[in-house]
Protein backbone atom coordinates (compact mmCIF):
# COMPACT_ATOMS: atom_id res chain seq x y z
CA UNK A 1 0.00 0.00 0.00
CA UNK A 2 1.06 3.58 -0.61
CA UNK A 3 0.80 6.29 2.03
CA UNK A 4 1.06 10.05 2.20
CA UNK A 5 2.11 11.93 5.36
CA UNK A 6 0.66 15.44 5.03
CA UNK A 7 2.37 16.90 8.10
CA UNK A 8 5.96 16.00 8.93
CA UNK A 9 8.99 18.22 9.59
CA UNK A 10 11.64 16.38 7.60
CA UNK A 11 14.37 18.99 8.10
CA UNK A 12 14.49 17.64 11.66
CA UNK A 13 14.75 14.01 10.57
CA UNK A 14 17.59 11.85 9.30
CA UNK A 15 18.20 9.97 6.06
CA UNK A 16 17.52 6.77 8.04
CA UNK A 17 13.99 8.07 8.52
CA UNK A 18 13.57 8.66 4.79
CA UNK A 19 14.71 5.10 4.10
CA UNK A 20 12.38 3.60 6.72
CA UNK A 21 9.49 5.73 5.49
CA UNK A 22 9.97 4.61 1.91
CA UNK A 23 10.27 0.97 2.98
CA UNK A 24 6.97 1.39 4.90
CA UNK A 25 5.15 2.65 1.81
CA UNK A 26 5.29 6.40 2.26
CA UNK A 27 5.57 7.98 -1.16
CA UNK A 28 4.94 11.63 -0.42
CA UNK A 29 5.12 14.14 2.41
CA UNK A 30 4.16 17.71 3.17
CA UNK A 31 6.53 19.75 5.31
CA UNK A 32 4.72 22.64 7.01
CA UNK A 33 6.86 25.62 7.95
CA UNK A 34 7.04 25.76 11.73
CA UNK A 35 8.85 26.82 14.87
CA UNK A 36 12.46 25.72 15.26
CA UNK A 37 12.41 24.93 18.96
CA UNK A 38 13.53 28.42 19.85
CA UNK A 39 12.53 31.85 18.67
CA UNK A 40 14.05 33.26 15.51
CA UNK A 41 15.60 36.68 15.95
CA UNK A 42 15.35 38.06 12.42
CA UNK A 43 13.29 37.83 9.25
CA UNK A 44 16.39 36.59 7.45
CA UNK A 45 16.17 33.35 9.44
CA UNK A 46 12.74 32.77 7.92
CA UNK A 47 14.07 33.47 4.44
CA UNK A 48 16.79 30.84 4.73
CA UNK A 49 14.40 28.36 6.33
CA UNK A 50 11.74 28.81 3.64
CA UNK A 51 14.43 28.50 0.95
CA UNK A 52 15.63 25.29 2.55
CA UNK A 53 12.26 23.54 2.71
CA UNK A 54 11.43 24.40 -0.90
CA UNK A 55 14.96 23.60 -2.07
CA UNK A 56 17.43 21.35 -0.31
CA UNK A 57 14.86 19.33 1.64
CA UNK A 58 12.80 18.65 -1.48
CA UNK A 59 15.93 17.41 -3.20
CA UNK A 60 16.94 15.30 -0.19
CA UNK A 61 13.52 13.59 -0.09
CA UNK A 62 13.73 12.84 -3.81
CA UNK A 63 17.06 11.12 -3.25
CA UNK A 64 15.17 8.52 -1.22
CA UNK A 65 12.18 8.18 -3.56
CA UNK A 66 9.78 10.44 -1.68
CA UNK A 67 7.80 13.32 -3.20
CA UNK A 68 8.20 16.41 -1.02
CA UNK A 69 5.90 19.42 -0.84
CA UNK A 70 5.65 22.15 1.75
CA UNK A 71 3.41 24.79 3.24
CA UNK A 72 4.69 28.27 4.00
CA UNK A 73 3.56 30.54 6.79
CA UNK A 74 4.33 32.29 10.04
CA UNK A 75 3.82 29.86 12.90
CA UNK A 76 1.53 31.04 15.72
CA UNK A 77 4.20 31.13 18.40
CA UNK A 78 6.29 33.66 16.50
CA UNK A 79 3.28 35.76 15.53
CA UNK A 80 3.76 37.42 18.91
CA UNK A 81 6.94 39.19 17.83
CA UNK A 82 5.47 42.16 15.98
CA UNK A 83 8.56 43.36 14.16
CA UNK A 84 9.45 39.91 12.85
CA UNK A 85 5.86 38.96 12.12
CA UNK A 86 5.34 42.03 9.95
CA UNK A 87 8.60 41.33 8.15
CA UNK A 88 7.55 37.77 7.42
CA UNK A 89 4.23 38.99 6.01
CA UNK A 90 6.24 41.06 3.53
CA UNK A 91 8.20 38.07 2.21
CA UNK A 92 5.40 35.48 2.19
CA UNK A 93 4.01 36.32 -1.27
CA UNK A 94 7.29 35.47 -3.01
CA UNK A 95 7.09 31.97 -1.50
CA UNK A 96 3.36 31.40 -1.99
CA UNK A 97 3.87 31.40 -5.75
CA UNK A 98 6.45 28.59 -5.67
CA UNK A 99 5.63 25.28 -7.29
CA UNK A 100 6.31 23.05 -4.30
CA UNK A 101 4.19 25.16 -1.94
CA UNK A 102 0.76 23.56 -1.61
CA UNK A 103 -0.79 25.65 1.18
CA UNK A 104 -0.37 28.47 3.66
CA UNK A 105 0.63 26.97 7.01
CA UNK A 106 1.00 25.95 9.60
CA UNK A 107 -0.77 28.94 11.02
CA UNK A 108 -3.17 29.22 13.92
CA UNK A 109 -3.11 29.83 17.64
CA UNK A 110 -0.57 29.10 20.35
CA UNK A 111 -1.31 31.32 23.32
CA UNK A 112 -4.46 32.71 21.68
CA UNK A 113 -3.40 36.36 21.78
CA UNK A 114 -4.67 39.38 19.81
CA UNK A 115 -1.41 39.33 17.80
CA UNK A 116 -2.04 35.72 16.85
CA UNK A 117 -5.57 36.72 15.79
CA UNK A 118 -4.15 39.44 13.59
CA UNK A 119 -1.56 37.39 11.73
CA UNK A 120 -3.84 34.39 11.38
CA UNK A 121 -6.40 36.59 9.64
CA UNK A 122 -3.77 38.22 7.42
CA UNK A 123 -2.44 34.83 6.34
CA UNK A 124 -5.90 33.47 5.61
CA UNK A 125 -6.35 36.54 3.42
CA UNK A 126 -3.09 35.76 1.63
CA UNK A 127 -4.28 32.19 1.02
CA UNK A 128 -7.44 33.54 -0.59
CA UNK A 129 -5.40 35.96 -2.70
CA UNK A 130 -3.05 33.22 -3.94
CA UNK A 131 -5.72 30.52 -4.31
CA UNK A 132 -4.12 28.25 -1.74
CA UNK A 133 -5.59 26.01 0.94
CA UNK A 134 -4.75 26.63 4.59
CA UNK A 135 -3.25 24.31 7.21
CA UNK A 136 -4.31 25.41 10.68
CA UNK A 137 -2.54 24.28 13.84
CA UNK A 138 -4.69 24.01 16.97
CA UNK A 139 -3.02 24.95 20.24
CA UNK A 140 -1.56 22.54 22.77
CA UNK A 141 -3.34 24.39 25.57
CA UNK A 142 -7.02 25.38 25.47
CA UNK A 143 -7.45 23.33 22.33
CA UNK A 144 -11.21 23.57 22.57
CA UNK A 145 -11.22 27.36 22.88
CA UNK A 146 -8.58 27.68 20.17
CA UNK A 147 -10.58 25.52 17.78
CA UNK A 148 -13.77 27.50 18.40
CA UNK A 149 -11.91 30.75 17.80
CA UNK A 150 -10.30 29.36 14.63
CA UNK A 151 -13.70 28.43 13.19
CA UNK A 152 -15.06 31.82 14.13
CA UNK A 153 -12.16 33.61 12.42
CA UNK A 154 -12.50 31.48 9.29
CA UNK A 155 -16.10 32.70 8.97
CA UNK A 156 -15.12 36.26 9.75
CA UNK A 157 -12.41 36.29 7.07
CA UNK A 158 -14.73 34.55 4.62
CA UNK A 159 -12.38 31.86 3.36
CA UNK A 160 -14.09 28.80 1.85
CA UNK A 161 -14.19 26.21 4.65
CA UNK A 162 -13.44 23.47 2.12
CA UNK A 163 -10.05 25.16 1.63
CA UNK A 164 -9.09 24.76 5.29
CA UNK A 165 -7.76 21.79 7.21
CA UNK A 166 -7.74 22.08 10.99
CA UNK A 167 -5.02 19.92 12.49
CA UNK A 168 -4.10 18.13 15.71
CA UNK A 169 -7.74 17.36 16.49
CA UNK A 170 -8.89 15.06 19.28
CA UNK A 171 -12.11 13.70 20.75
CA UNK A 172 -13.03 17.12 22.12
CA UNK A 173 -12.39 19.21 19.02
CA UNK A 174 -13.25 16.92 16.11
CA UNK A 175 -17.03 17.23 16.57
CA UNK A 176 -16.74 21.02 16.30
CA UNK A 177 -14.86 20.81 13.00
CA UNK A 178 -17.18 18.16 11.60
CA UNK A 179 -20.02 20.66 11.92
CA UNK A 180 -18.09 22.97 9.58
CA UNK A 181 -16.98 22.43 6.00
CA UNK A 182 -13.30 22.20 7.02
CA UNK A 183 -11.14 19.13 6.68
CA UNK A 184 -10.07 17.27 9.81
CA UNK A 185 -6.39 16.62 10.57
CA UNK A 186 -5.13 14.29 13.30
CA UNK A 187 -1.54 13.93 14.48
CA UNK A 188 -0.54 10.52 15.79
CA UNK A 189 2.16 10.77 18.44
CA UNK A 190 3.97 8.23 20.62
CA UNK A 191 2.70 9.69 23.90
CA UNK A 192 0.87 12.96 23.41
CA UNK A 193 -1.82 14.13 20.99
CA UNK A 194 -3.56 11.09 19.41
CA UNK A 195 -2.72 7.37 19.36
CA UNK A 196 -3.45 4.96 16.47
CA UNK A 197 -6.11 3.23 18.54
CA UNK A 198 -7.88 6.46 19.45
CA UNK A 199 -7.73 7.44 15.78
CA UNK A 200 -9.34 4.19 14.71
CA UNK A 201 -12.17 4.79 17.19
CA UNK A 202 -12.75 8.25 15.72
CA UNK A 203 -12.87 6.80 12.19
CA UNK A 204 -15.36 4.15 13.30
CA UNK A 205 -17.54 6.75 14.95
CA UNK A 206 -17.38 9.63 12.47
CA UNK A 207 -16.57 7.96 9.13
CA UNK A 208 -13.81 8.63 6.61
CA UNK A 209 -14.92 11.72 4.72
CA UNK A 210 -12.49 14.65 5.00
CA UNK A 211 -10.53 12.72 7.63
CA UNK A 212 -6.75 13.09 7.44
CA UNK A 213 -3.96 11.54 9.52
CA UNK A 214 -0.34 12.61 9.91
CA UNK A 215 2.67 11.96 12.12
CA UNK A 216 3.61 15.60 12.77
CA UNK A 217 7.06 14.15 13.44
CA UNK A 218 9.64 16.81 14.24
CA UNK A 219 12.75 17.28 16.39
CA UNK A 220 10.90 16.06 19.48
CA UNK A 221 10.04 12.53 20.52
CA UNK A 222 7.89 11.51 17.57
CA UNK A 223 7.55 8.74 15.00
CA UNK A 224 7.74 9.28 11.22
CA UNK A 225 6.07 5.89 10.67
CA UNK A 226 2.82 6.75 12.44
CA UNK A 227 0.86 6.91 9.17
CA UNK A 228 1.67 3.31 8.14
CA UNK A 229 1.21 2.26 11.76
CA UNK A 230 -2.28 3.78 11.69
CA UNK A 231 -2.92 1.77 8.50
CA UNK A 232 -2.02 -1.39 10.40
CA UNK A 233 -4.34 -0.44 13.27
CA UNK A 234 -7.17 0.27 10.79
CA UNK A 235 -6.76 -3.10 9.08
CA UNK A 236 -6.65 -4.90 12.42
CA UNK A 237 -9.87 -3.11 13.38
CA UNK A 238 -11.63 -4.43 10.30
CA UNK A 239 -11.28 -1.57 7.81
CA UNK A 240 -10.70 -2.60 4.19
CA UNK A 241 -7.59 -1.58 2.23
CA UNK A 242 -9.65 0.86 0.14
CA UNK A 243 -10.69 2.63 3.36
CA UNK A 244 -7.08 2.84 4.47
CA UNK A 245 -6.08 4.26 1.10
CA UNK A 246 -8.87 6.81 1.27
CA UNK A 247 -7.78 8.18 4.65
CA UNK A 248 -4.02 7.76 4.38
CA UNK A 249 -3.41 8.61 0.73
CA UNK A 250 -6.36 10.01 -1.20
CA UNK A 251 -7.89 12.38 1.34
CA UNK A 252 -4.76 14.39 2.19
CA UNK A 253 -3.67 14.66 -1.44
CA UNK A 254 -7.17 15.63 -2.56
CA UNK A 255 -7.28 18.40 0.02
CA UNK A 256 -3.92 19.90 -0.92
CA UNK A 257 -4.74 19.38 -4.63
CA UNK A 258 -6.92 22.46 -4.21
CA UNK A 259 -3.64 24.36 -4.70
CA UNK A 260 -3.37 22.97 -8.25
CA UNK A 261 0.20 21.91 -7.43
CA UNK A 262 -0.20 18.28 -6.32
CA UNK A 263 -2.34 15.30 -7.35
CA UNK A 264 -2.65 11.59 -6.63
CA UNK A 265 -1.11 10.54 -9.96
CA UNK A 266 2.04 12.53 -9.34
CA UNK A 267 2.53 11.18 -5.82
CA UNK A 268 1.87 7.61 -7.00
CA UNK A 269 4.50 7.97 -9.72
CA UNK A 270 7.74 6.33 -8.71
CA UNK A 271 10.66 8.70 -8.48
CA UNK A 272 13.61 7.39 -10.46
CA UNK A 273 16.23 7.89 -7.79
CA UNK A 274 19.56 9.19 -9.00
CA UNK A 275 21.90 9.76 -6.11
CA UNK A 276 24.64 11.06 -8.36
CA UNK A 277 22.68 14.32 -8.58
CA UNK A 278 23.72 17.31 -6.51
CA UNK A 279 21.91 20.26 -4.98
CA UNK A 280 24.06 23.38 -5.00
CA UNK A 281 27.05 21.03 -5.27
CA UNK A 282 25.88 19.10 -2.21
CA UNK A 283 24.97 15.43 -1.93
CA UNK A 284 23.08 13.55 0.79
CA UNK A 285 25.61 10.75 0.49
CA UNK A 286 28.76 10.45 2.56
CA UNK A 287 30.95 8.23 0.44
CA UNK A 288 28.31 5.55 -0.26
CA UNK A 289 27.83 4.05 -3.69
CA UNK A 290 25.10 6.16 -5.33
CA UNK A 291 21.85 4.41 -6.24
CA UNK A 292 20.84 5.16 -9.83
CA UNK A 293 17.46 3.78 -10.91
CA UNK A 294 16.95 5.62 -14.16
Amino acid sequence: MQFFDPHIHMTSRTTDDYQRMYASGIRGVIEPAFWQGQARTSVASFTDYFDMIIGWERFRASQFGIHHYCTIGLNPKEANNLEIAEGVMDILPQYLVKEGVVAVGEIGYDDITPMEDRFLAIQMGLAMEFGLPVLVHTPHRDKLGGTRRTLSLIREVGIDEDMVIIDHLNEQTLPLVLESGCWCGHSIYPDTKMSEQRMVELLKRYGLEKMVVNSAADWGVSDPLKVPKTAKAMLEAGFQEEHVTQVLFNNPIDFFARSGRINREEVATTIQVDQTKLWQENSALRGQEPIVQC
Partner: protein, 230 residues
Protein backbone atom coordinates in the same frame (compact mmCIF):
# COMPACT_ATOMS: atom_id res chain seq x y z
CA UNK B 1 41.61 43.95 57.58
CA UNK B 2 38.62 42.79 59.63
CA UNK B 3 37.11 46.23 59.33
CA UNK B 4 37.61 46.16 55.52
CA UNK B 5 35.93 42.77 55.22
CA UNK B 6 33.02 44.08 57.24
CA UNK B 7 32.67 47.08 54.92
CA UNK B 8 32.72 44.87 51.86
CA UNK B 9 29.99 42.65 53.30
CA UNK B 10 27.96 45.70 54.28
CA UNK B 11 28.00 47.00 50.72
CA UNK B 12 26.61 43.72 49.42
CA UNK B 13 23.99 43.57 52.16
CA UNK B 14 22.99 47.12 51.38
CA UNK B 15 22.58 46.28 47.69
CA UNK B 16 20.22 43.43 48.54
CA UNK B 17 18.41 45.55 51.07
CA UNK B 18 17.75 48.08 48.30
CA UNK B 19 16.04 45.25 46.44
CA UNK B 20 13.58 44.95 49.31
CA UNK B 21 14.71 41.50 50.38
CA UNK B 22 14.03 40.31 53.91
CA UNK B 23 16.82 40.77 56.42
CA UNK B 24 16.85 37.07 57.34
CA UNK B 25 17.32 36.09 53.71
CA UNK B 26 20.24 38.49 53.37
CA UNK B 27 21.84 37.20 56.55
CA UNK B 28 21.52 33.59 55.39
CA UNK B 29 22.98 34.52 52.02
CA UNK B 30 26.00 36.25 53.50
CA UNK B 31 26.61 33.34 55.86
CA UNK B 32 26.51 30.89 52.97
CA UNK B 33 28.81 32.92 50.72
CA UNK B 34 32.10 32.81 52.59
CA UNK B 35 34.79 35.48 52.52
CA UNK B 36 36.41 34.53 49.21
CA UNK B 37 33.14 34.76 47.34
CA UNK B 38 32.25 38.00 49.14
CA UNK B 39 35.52 39.56 48.05
CA UNK B 40 35.10 38.36 44.48
CA UNK B 41 31.56 39.71 44.35
CA UNK B 42 32.62 43.05 45.75
CA UNK B 43 35.56 43.39 43.35
CA UNK B 44 33.34 42.43 40.46
CA UNK B 45 30.70 44.97 41.39
CA UNK B 46 33.32 47.72 41.25
CA UNK B 47 33.90 46.88 37.60
CA UNK B 48 30.27 47.18 36.51
CA UNK B 49 30.59 50.80 35.57
CA UNK B 50 30.88 50.95 31.77
CA UNK B 51 29.09 54.03 30.45
CA UNK B 52 27.93 52.32 27.30
CA UNK B 53 24.82 50.26 28.06
CA UNK B 54 25.66 47.40 25.73
CA UNK B 55 29.13 47.17 27.24
CA UNK B 56 27.66 47.18 30.74
CA UNK B 57 25.15 44.47 29.78
CA UNK B 58 27.96 42.33 28.41
CA UNK B 59 30.04 42.93 31.51
CA UNK B 60 27.14 41.85 33.73
CA UNK B 61 26.63 38.71 31.65
CA UNK B 62 30.32 37.91 31.77
CA UNK B 63 30.43 38.06 35.57
CA UNK B 64 27.09 36.33 35.93
CA UNK B 65 28.52 33.49 33.87
CA UNK B 66 31.43 33.20 36.32
CA UNK B 67 29.11 32.64 39.27
CA UNK B 68 29.05 28.89 38.81
CA UNK B 69 32.84 28.65 38.77
CA UNK B 70 33.27 30.97 41.73
CA UNK B 71 30.70 29.31 43.97
CA UNK B 72 30.85 25.71 42.82
CA UNK B 73 27.76 23.77 41.75
CA UNK B 74 26.51 22.89 45.22
CA UNK B 75 26.70 26.38 46.70
CA UNK B 76 25.30 27.97 43.57
CA UNK B 77 22.20 25.81 43.82
CA UNK B 78 21.77 26.02 47.59
CA UNK B 79 18.22 27.24 48.23
CA UNK B 80 17.73 30.09 50.66
CA UNK B 81 13.96 30.34 50.43
CA UNK B 82 11.20 29.42 47.97
CA UNK B 83 12.50 31.90 45.36
CA UNK B 84 16.18 32.45 45.76
CA UNK B 85 19.30 30.29 45.67
CA UNK B 86 22.77 31.53 46.60
CA UNK B 87 23.69 31.74 42.90
CA UNK B 88 20.48 33.62 42.14
CA UNK B 89 21.22 36.25 44.78
CA UNK B 90 24.82 36.65 43.58
CA UNK B 91 23.41 37.40 40.14
CA UNK B 92 20.85 39.76 41.66
CA UNK B 93 23.63 41.72 43.36
CA UNK B 94 25.49 41.95 40.04
CA UNK B 95 22.33 43.03 38.24
CA UNK B 96 21.42 45.63 40.83
CA UNK B 97 24.95 47.07 40.67
CA UNK B 98 24.78 47.15 36.88
CA UNK B 99 21.55 49.14 37.07
CA UNK B 100 22.94 51.60 39.61
CA UNK B 101 23.64 54.92 37.95
CA UNK B 102 21.88 53.80 34.78
CA UNK B 103 19.35 56.44 35.87
CA UNK B 104 16.88 57.11 33.05
CA UNK B 105 18.26 54.22 31.06
CA UNK B 106 17.52 51.56 33.62
CA UNK B 107 14.68 49.96 31.63
CA UNK B 108 16.74 50.07 28.44
CA UNK B 109 19.58 48.26 30.18
CA UNK B 110 17.25 45.58 31.54
CA UNK B 111 15.88 45.03 28.02
CA UNK B 112 19.40 44.77 26.61
CA UNK B 113 20.38 42.26 29.28
CA UNK B 114 17.24 40.24 28.53
CA UNK B 115 18.02 40.30 24.83
CA UNK B 116 21.53 38.95 25.38
CA UNK B 117 20.89 36.74 28.38
CA UNK B 118 21.44 33.03 28.87
CA UNK B 119 19.21 30.73 30.89
CA UNK B 120 20.47 31.70 34.35
CA UNK B 121 20.02 35.40 33.67
CA UNK B 122 16.52 34.78 32.33
CA UNK B 123 15.64 32.93 35.53
CA UNK B 124 17.04 35.86 37.48
CA UNK B 125 15.02 38.41 35.53
CA UNK B 126 11.87 36.32 35.91
CA UNK B 127 12.29 36.00 39.67
CA UNK B 128 13.33 39.60 40.01
CA UNK B 129 10.58 41.20 37.93
CA UNK B 130 8.72 42.57 40.90
CA UNK B 131 11.96 44.03 42.28
CA UNK B 132 12.99 45.57 38.98
CA UNK B 133 9.62 46.87 37.91
CA UNK B 134 7.06 48.35 40.25
CA UNK B 135 4.95 49.86 37.46
CA UNK B 136 4.41 46.97 35.04
CA UNK B 137 6.66 48.53 32.40
CA UNK B 138 8.32 45.18 31.73
CA UNK B 139 5.07 43.29 31.21
CA UNK B 140 5.99 42.57 27.57
CA UNK B 141 9.18 40.84 28.74
CA UNK B 142 7.22 38.77 31.24
CA UNK B 143 4.78 37.73 28.50
CA UNK B 144 7.68 36.83 26.22
CA UNK B 145 9.21 34.73 28.98
CA UNK B 146 5.89 32.97 29.35
CA UNK B 147 6.15 31.69 25.77
CA UNK B 148 9.14 29.58 26.75
CA UNK B 149 9.32 25.82 26.62
CA UNK B 150 11.92 25.92 29.40
CA UNK B 151 10.14 24.55 32.44
CA UNK B 152 12.60 26.22 34.83
CA UNK B 153 11.96 29.62 33.33
CA UNK B 154 8.23 29.06 33.42
CA UNK B 155 8.47 28.01 37.07
CA UNK B 156 10.53 31.11 37.90
CA UNK B 157 7.85 33.27 36.33
CA UNK B 158 4.78 31.55 37.66
CA UNK B 159 5.68 30.20 41.11
CA UNK B 160 6.20 32.33 44.21
CA UNK B 161 6.31 35.39 42.00
CA UNK B 162 4.03 38.34 42.71
CA UNK B 163 4.48 39.91 39.25
CA UNK B 164 1.83 37.99 37.22
CA UNK B 165 -0.94 38.49 39.78
CA UNK B 166 -0.06 42.16 40.02
CA UNK B 167 0.19 43.10 36.35
CA UNK B 168 -1.36 40.43 34.10
CA UNK B 169 -4.82 40.95 32.65
CA UNK B 170 -7.33 38.22 33.40
CA UNK B 171 -6.76 36.55 30.03
CA UNK B 172 -2.96 36.77 30.33
CA UNK B 173 -3.10 35.33 33.84
CA UNK B 174 -5.39 32.50 32.76
CA UNK B 175 -3.10 31.53 29.87
CA UNK B 176 -0.08 31.50 32.18
CA UNK B 177 -1.82 29.29 34.73
CA UNK B 178 -2.99 26.92 31.99
CA UNK B 179 0.53 26.65 30.65
CA UNK B 180 1.84 25.93 34.15
CA UNK B 181 -0.74 23.14 34.42
CA UNK B 182 0.35 21.86 31.01
CA UNK B 183 3.89 21.61 32.39
CA UNK B 184 2.67 19.86 35.55
CA UNK B 185 3.92 22.66 37.79
CA UNK B 186 2.46 22.95 41.28
CA UNK B 187 -0.26 25.57 40.86
CA UNK B 188 -0.48 25.93 44.61
CA UNK B 189 2.72 28.00 44.44
CA UNK B 190 1.17 30.69 42.23
CA UNK B 191 1.04 33.95 44.13
CA UNK B 192 -2.51 35.19 44.84
CA UNK B 193 -4.07 32.48 42.70
CA UNK B 194 -7.07 32.41 45.02
CA UNK B 195 -7.72 36.10 44.28
CA UNK B 196 -7.44 35.63 40.50
CA UNK B 197 -9.58 32.51 39.98
CA UNK B 198 -12.38 33.36 37.56
CA UNK B 199 -15.06 31.42 35.62
CA UNK B 200 -13.02 31.45 32.41
CA UNK B 201 -10.00 29.94 34.18
CA UNK B 202 -12.18 27.25 35.75
CA UNK B 203 -13.58 26.37 32.32
CA UNK B 204 -10.09 26.24 30.77
CA UNK B 205 -8.89 23.94 33.54
CA UNK B 206 -11.94 21.67 33.27
CA UNK B 207 -11.35 21.35 29.50
CA UNK B 208 -7.69 20.60 30.22
CA UNK B 209 -8.63 17.84 32.68
CA UNK B 210 -11.03 16.30 30.13
CA UNK B 211 -8.33 16.38 27.46
CA UNK B 212 -5.75 14.73 29.72
CA UNK B 213 -8.30 12.10 30.76
CA UNK B 214 -9.06 11.31 27.10
CA UNK B 215 -5.37 10.82 26.43
CA UNK B 216 -4.84 8.79 29.62
CA UNK B 217 -2.25 11.24 30.88
CA UNK B 218 -1.46 12.31 34.43
CA UNK B 219 -1.67 15.95 35.46
CA UNK B 220 -0.98 18.01 38.53
CA UNK B 221 -3.51 17.50 41.30
CA UNK B 222 -3.03 21.13 42.22
CA UNK B 223 -5.35 22.03 39.33
CA UNK B 224 -8.23 21.09 41.65
CA UNK B 225 -7.43 24.21 43.65
CA UNK B 226 -8.98 25.98 40.67
CA UNK B 227 -11.74 23.65 39.61
CA UNK B 228 -12.67 22.52 43.09
CA UNK B 229 -13.32 19.10 41.61
CA UNK B 230 -12.07 16.01 43.43
Amino acid sequence: MVRSQHDVASRIESTLSDCGLHETLITDFMAALGSDAVNWLNDTCQQLTAADLSARALMFLKFSGQTKGRLGYQLEHTSLDNRWSVGGLVRLVLLQKSLTSAAGQRETLIREIYRLSGNNEKYLLARGLSILDAEGALLDIALDMGRTNDENLLAALVQNNPYPARFYTEDQFNRLVLKAAFYNLDLGLIDKLDKRINPELIELCNDFIDEQDNAGRDFTNSIYIITGRY
